[in-house]
C-alpha cells in the first residue's frame, strides 16, 4: 500500500512537473545554500590551518599591548626597539631567529600612477625567515640596511599596478616624502586565507622605515622562530621572561606585550570561520523554512484543486488515513526531490566557490545527510496540515465541488 501511495505521489508530481519544480524551488535553494556554505566554510578552515602550518608551527610574533590579535589589533602600548630583538636573538637559546619589523599602509606613487599598499620595514633576516625570495634584481645589502638607504623591493601586485610593462628595476618609487630606488621584485606568494594579497607589498630596510617614514626608532613586531628541537611553549616562556625584564614589569603586574603563537592564531581563525559558517548556514536554514511554507501553500492549493479527486477516492472506499498518507507522501516526495536537487546544486556551488577562492573542496557527507533529513522533515511538517484538510473532507461536498 505504501508503495502504491509512493507511486501515486510520483505520478501526481510529474503530472504537473513545472509547478512541482517551482514549489520545491525554496527547498532547493535552502538545501543548496546550507551545503554550499558549509562546504566552503570547511574548505576555508582546512586552508587556514594549512597556511598557518606553512608559516612554521614554531613561529611566534611579539607585539606590544595585551589585546594582541584578539581585540582590535595592535594597541598604543610601548613599542619595541631593535635592541629588544637583538636581546632575544642573543640571550635565548630556545630562539633561532628574532627579526624586528614595521608595517604601515602607504600610497606608493610612480609617475602619475598611485597605489595604496602595505609598506614593510624589514631586514634580510626577516625576509629569509618569512620565505620571501627575490624573483628579479636583488635584496638589500647589509650596508644598505645599516645606512638606511632609500631602496625598495616590490611585490608582484605593486609592480603590475604601478609599472605595467615598464621594467621597474632602477626606477624611483615615491613613498610619501621618501624617494626610493627599486632594486628587486619578490616572487609571487598569492593570497592568504584572510583573503589578503601577500604580493601587494613594498619592502624597505627597517632603518629606512624608522628614519624616513615613522620618524622614530620603534619596532612594531618581532618575528621569532623557535629552535626546532625545543617546544614553542618553552620558547614563549623564555621570551616573556626576557621581555618582562627588559620592559621592567614588576612581578604581579600584567604584561604590556603579547606573544602570539601562530598555532593559536590558526585556532582563532578556525573559530571565526566556523562561527561565520554557522551563521551563514543558519540564514540558509531559514530559507529552508520558507521553502517549507511554500510547499504547504502549494499543497493547500493542490488539495482545494483536487477536491473532486478526493471525493472520488472517498466514494470508492478510501479511508481518511489513506487520503492523509497520499498527500503527506506527496509533500515528502516533493521536498525530498527538492533535497536531491538542492544537494546537487549546493555541491556544485561549493566546488565552484572552492575553485574561485582557491580553497580545497571538502564535501561533508554528514551535512548532506542532515540537509536531506531536514528537507524530509519539512515535507512532513508542512505537508501534514494540507493532508489533514484533504482527509477530513466530506465526500458529498467534495464530489459536488466544481
Amino acid at each position: 500500500m505504501l508503495l502504491e501511495t509512493f507511486r501515486l505521489a510520483v505520478h501526481a508530481i510529474f503530472r504537473n512537473a513545472l509547478r512541482s519544480f517551482l514549489t520545491v524551488l525554496g527547498i532547493v535553494i535552502g538545501v543548496a545554500s546550507v551545503i554550499a556554505m558549509v562546504t566552503i566554510g570547511q574548505g576555508s578552515q582546512v586552508r587556514v590551518t594549512r597556511d598557518v602550518e606553512s608559516l612554521g608551527t614554531n613561529t611566534v610574533m611579539v607585539v606590544p599591548g595585551q589585546g594582541g590579535m584578539r581585540q582590535g589589533g595592535f594597541t598604543a602600548d610601548r613599542p619595541f626597539t631593535v635592541a629588544d630583538a637583538e636581546a632575544i636573538q642573543e640571550n635565548l637559546a630556545t630562539v633561532a631567529i628574532a627579526a624586528p619589523y614595521n608595517i604601515t599602509g602607504i600610497t606608493a606613487v610612480y609617475g602619475n600612477q598611485n597605489h595604496f599598499t602595505q609598506l614593510v620595514g624589514a631586514t634580510t633576516a626577516l625576509m629569509d625567515a618569512m620565505n620571501w625570495s627575490i624573483a628579479e634584481g636583488r635584496a638589500f645589502t647589509e650596508a644598505e640596511e645599516r645606512a638606511g638607504r632609500p631602496v625598495c623591493v616590490l611585490g608582484q601586485t605593486v609592480r603590475e599596478e604601478l609599472f605595467g610593462s615598464i621594467p621597474p628595476l632602477g626606477q624611483t618609487l615615491r613613498l610619501e616624502s621618501l624617494a626610493c630606488e627599486v632594486i628587486g621584485i619578490l616572487e609571487p606568494k598569492g593570497a592568504t586565507s584572510f583573503g589578503e594579497d601577500q604580493d601587494d607589498t613594498v619592502a624597505i630596510p627597517l632603518k629606512t622605515f624608522q628614519r624616513r617614514i615613522a620618524g622614530n626608532d620603534d619596532v612594531s613586531i618581532i618575528f621569532i622562530e623557535a629552535r626546532s628541537d625545543v617546544s614553542t611553549a618553552r620558547a614563549i616562556r623564555d621570551i616573556e621572561a626576557l621581555m618582562r625584564d627588559r620592559r621592567r614589569i614588576s612581578p604581579g603586574e600584567e604584561d604590556d606585550f603579547s606573544v602570539i603563537d601562530m598555532k593559536q592564531i590558526a585556532s582563532i581563525l578556525t573559530g571565526i570561520t566556523s562561527v561565520l559558517t554557522g551563521l551563514l548556514s543558519a540564514v540558509a536554514g531559514v530559507s529552508l523554512l520558507v521553502g517549507g511554507i511554500g510547499i504547504m501553500n502549494i499543497m493547500l492549493v493542490s488539495v482545494t484543486e483536487r477536491t473532486r479527486e478526493i471525493g472520488i477516492r472517498l466514494a470508492v472506499g478510501a479511508q481518511a488515513r489513506q487520503v492523509l498518507m497520499q498527500f503527506l507522501v506527496e509533500a515528502i516526495v516533493l521536498s525530498l526531490l527538492g533535497g536531491v536537487m538542492g544537494t546537487a546544486l549546493g555541491l556544485a556551488l561549493g566546488a565552484l566557490g572552492a575553485h574561485l577562492m582557491s580553497i580545497p573542496f571538502t564535501p561533508d557527507p554528514f551535512v548532506i545527510l542532515v540537509a536531506f533529513a531536514f528537507s524530509a522533515g519539512v515535507g512532513v511538517i508542512f505537508g501534514y496540515f494540507p493532508a489533514r484538510r484533504a482527509a477530513r473532507m466530506d465526500p458529498i461536498e467534495a464530489l459536488r465541488h466544481q
Binding site: 479527486e309 472520488i312 472517498l314 472506499g317 479511508q319 458529498i396
Partner: protein, 238 residues
C-alpha cells in the same frame, strides 16, 4: 439460496435527514421506509428537491441520516464510523455519477483500478480485474486513453467499469444518463440492465427521465422528502 432467511440487502426505516437548525432548517427526508432485495433494479424518481439524491447519499453511506435506521445486509450502518463506512463502500457498493467523475489525466485502466488499490490487491491482479471490467463495458481497446480522449458515453462506461471492478453487490447510479444523448443513454441503460440480469447486481438509479426509468423493475417516486409511490414495473428490456 433461500432469500427469505437472509436480511434484505438495503433496509431503510423511518430515515430522516435534516440540514441546518432553527429558521434555516431544511428537512430533506421526512421518514423514508425502503427495502431493497438483492438483485433488484430500482428507479428513484421525483422532482428536484424531493430528497431523492439525499436518499441515495444515505444508501451509499456517504451521508448519515439524522434519524431512523439503515441496515445494509443486516448490518446497522448508523453504528459504523467514517472509516468503517468507507470499508463498506469499498467492498459492497459501486457508484456511477451524472458527471462521470473520472480522474483527469489518468488512463481509463488506472481509473478503473482505483477502488482495487484501496482493496489492497496486488498490482497484477488489479490490472487483470480492471481489464476485465473494461471488457465488460466494451472498452477494452480504450484502456490507455485519458478521459479527455473519450466521448461522454465512453466516459460513463469507464465509470461503470470502475463501479464494477470491485465486484460490488449494489451499484448506485445518480442520473447516469443525465449528460448523454438518447442513443448513448440507451447503451448505458442496456449495460446496467445486463449487469443486473447476468451478474445479479442490485441497481439503484436516480433519474428524472421516464424513458430511462422504463428499464427498471421497480419505481419509487419521491415527493417532499417522502416516498409517494413505490410499485413494481415490467421492464421492456427484461
Amino acid at each position: 439460496m433461500d432469500r427469505k432467511a437472509d436480511p434484505p440487502q438495503i433496509a431503510l426505516r423511518g430515515i430522516t435527514r435534516v440540514y441546518g437548525t432553527g429558521e434555516a432548517m431544511v428537512r430533506a427526508l421526512r421518514g423514508i421506509d425502503l427495502t431493497v432485495e438483492a438483485g433488484d433494479f430500482l428507479a428513484i424518481m421525483g422532482p428536484s428537491g424531493s430528497g431523492k439524491s439525499t436518499a441515495m447519499n444515505v444508501i451509499g453511506c456517504l451521508d448519515t441520516p439524522s434519524g431512523g435506521s439503515y441496515h445494509f445486509q443486516g448490518v446497522d450502518v448508523s453504528a459504523l464510523n467514517r472509516d468503517q463506512r468507507a470499508l463498506l463502500r469499498r467492498n459492497y457498493l459501486g457508484f456511477v455519477f451524472q458527471g462521470y467523475n473520472l480522474l483527469p489525466r489518468t488512463s481509463a485502466l488506472d481509473n478503473v483500478e482505483l477502488p482495487l488499490i484501496y482493496k489492497g490487491l496486488p498490482r497484477a491482479r488489479r490490472i487483470a480485474m480492471a481489464q476485465e471490467a473494461l471488457e465488460k463495458v466494451g472498452l477494452a481497446n480504450r484502456a490507455h486513453h485519458d478521459p479527455s480522449e473519450l466521448s461522454g458515453g465512453q466516459q460513463q462506461r469507464v465509470a461503470i467499469a470502475r463501479a464494477l471492478a470491485g465486484r460490488p453487490g449494489v451499484i448506485l447510479a445518480d442520473e447516469p444518463t443525465g449528460n448523454l444523448d438518447t442513443t448513448r443513454s440507451r447503451e448505458i441503460m442496456d449495460l446496467l440492465t445486463e449487469l443486473n440480469r447476468d451478474d445479479g447486481i442490485t441497481i439503484v438509479m436516480v433519474t428524472h427521465e421516464e424513458d430511462m426509468a422504463e428499464y427498471a423493475r421497480r419505481h419509487v417516486n419521491f415527493l417532499d422528502g417522502r416516498i409517494a409511490e413505490d410499485h413494481q414495473h415490467d421492464s421492456p428490456g427484461g
